[in-house]
């Protein structure tokens, strides 16, 4: 869908599919396709990757936000509907589905998280259903909605990514939210001193008396370095795992899609591949949502875990 009317090259096609609809603060003098399109600094929608990189952090992916919020609202609406209609009688139809999901999450949370919290179970439910819905967008044919969006907007170059979880901003945003919740609950449960102690007194127990005391600061420093890495690795691995899986999955769908234009035989082959990969991907998207949820529960359990004698290193 190149602007000059020619069919895009494969590289252009793939790049186009991997670019977000971005709205950001564009500095003056940015070049796009060799010509300057921006005379003054201001907020605008990016038209090419040069503009996007020029925007830097001061940009927002409109498509990611639109789809993630939209899907989140679908989740909330469905479950709010269920919550309003939930009664102690015999449940039917959709209510059954909602309750089965809630029961499943409740059981999973109770298995991994033995503390009392009103927050963790709803957190797990939100993560599971929301991430699943966002991942589910991956199964929609890659060109369908972007082409529709391009047609509606009138701009054939319109960038529109419909799988929010292929945007690292989305997955890392959730990962770091979980991270901050972890720190928050950790400090709430153990106090600030307890939290710092957890970071500095494990995995090596510093000597508390005798001549070894002079080594204590060094050991504490080593502990802190190790524990900080462990702690920071959690949100990053949480976010990147989901992003990586979905990005790779989406990439393969795009690659398969490029084969559709290459003759009948290859097109049929691509169709078979598409079907196979989509079927396989049903497992992947569910599993990734589940993994994200379970790890979050486990991290929350660690944050609530308060046992000074326990030498278990997280």
């Amino acid at each position: 869908m190149a602007a000059d009317g020619n069919a895009p090259t494969t590289t252009e096609y793939i790049q186009h599919h991997l670019t977000n609809w971005t709205y950001g603060k564009l500095p003056a003098g940015t070049y796009c396709d060799g010509k300057s399109v921006q005379e003054t600094t201001g907020w605008t929608v990016a038209h090419c990757s040069e503009e996007m990189s020029a925007m830097g952090f001061n940009a927002i992916h409109l498509d990611s936000m639109l789809w993630s919020i939209g899907l989140g609202l679908i989740f909330l609406a469905l479950f709010r509907w269920g919550a309003k209609r939930a009664h102690s009688g015999v449940p039917t139809g959709m209510l059954n589905f909602v309750e089965a999901l809630v029961e499943f999450i409740d059981k999973t949370v109770k298995d991994a998280f033995q503390y009392r919290s009103r927050f963790v179970a709803p957190l797990a439910l939100t993560i599971f259903v929301w991430v699943f819905l966002m991942n589910l967008m991956d199964l929609i044919p890659v060109d369908l909605i972007p082409q529709l969006a391009a047609w509606v907007s009138g701009d054939p170059h319109f960038y529109f990514k419909i799988v929010p979880t292929t945007d690292p901003n989305v997955t890392l945003g959730m990962g770091f939210t979980v991270f901050f919740l972890m720190i928050m609950f950790s400090i709430r449960e153990k106090g600030f001193i307890g939290f710092v102690k957890e970071l500095t007194f494990h995995p090596f127990h510093p000597p508390t008396k005798g001549v070894g005391l002079i080594f204590a600061p060094i050991i504490i420093l080593i502990n802190f370095a190790l524990e900080s890495v462990t702690l920071l690795a959690r949100p990053i691995s949480l976010g990147l795992r989901l992003f990586g899986n979905l990005y790779a999955g989406e990439m393969i769908f795009i690659l398969i899609a490029t084969m559709f234009g290459a003759g009948l035989i290859l097109g049929l082959f691509a169709g078979v591949l598409q079907l196979g990969w989509a079927l396989f991907h049903i497992i992947v998207i569910t599993l990734q949502a589940f993994v994200f949820m379970v790890l979050t529960i486990v991290y929350m359990a660690m944050a609530f875990h308060n046992d000074d004698e326990d030498q278990f290193t997280h």
């Binding site: 977000n20 971005t22 950001g24 996007m52 990189s53 925007m55 830097g56 952090f57 001061n58 940009a59 927002i60 992916h61 990611s64 936000m65 993630s68 919020i69 989140g72 989740f75 909330l76 479950f79 709010r80 269920g82 919550a83 309003k84 939930a86 009664h87 102690s88 009688g89 449940p91 909602v98 309750e99 809630v102 029961e103 409740d106 009103r118 927050f119 179970a121 709803p122 957190l123 439910l125 939100t126 929301w130 929010p164 945007d167 690292p168 901003n169 989305v170 890392l172 945003g173 959730m174 770091f176 939210t177």
Partner: protein, 156 residues
Amino acid sequence: MNLNLTIIGQSITFVVFVLICMKYIWPLIIAAMAERQKKIADGLAAADRASKDLELAQEKAKHALRDAKTEAASILDSANKRATQIVEEAKEQAREEGNRIKAATQAEVEQEVNRAKEQLRSQVATLAFVGAEKVLESSVDQSAHKDMIDKLAASL
């Protein structure tokens, strides 16, 4: 990978969604499910109790049936006894009545015989006189032989 404001937007959205879920969704569904669980448990307990009650009632019914049977048997027995007794009494009465009637009849017959005898006796004298007159062709002094005839009549 271009990290930008989206990461913050997503974080805020995430927290808001979780809070909404925590406040308006999760407790309602969990409460309804817990209530249903309690209801089902109560129902099962009630069913258990009912089946126990049923067993008890059946036991009771069996007892009552057995008692009734025994009572019926005893009633039948006594009724039989009573019937036999009544029959016996009736027989006794009948026999007595028969005897009484027989006795009365006998007495009547005897009376009848006696009356006939009396009549006969009273008429013997006359007959004897009439016969003797016929034999003697004369009148007989009735007064002269009256004693003799009377004696004859009395000996009859």
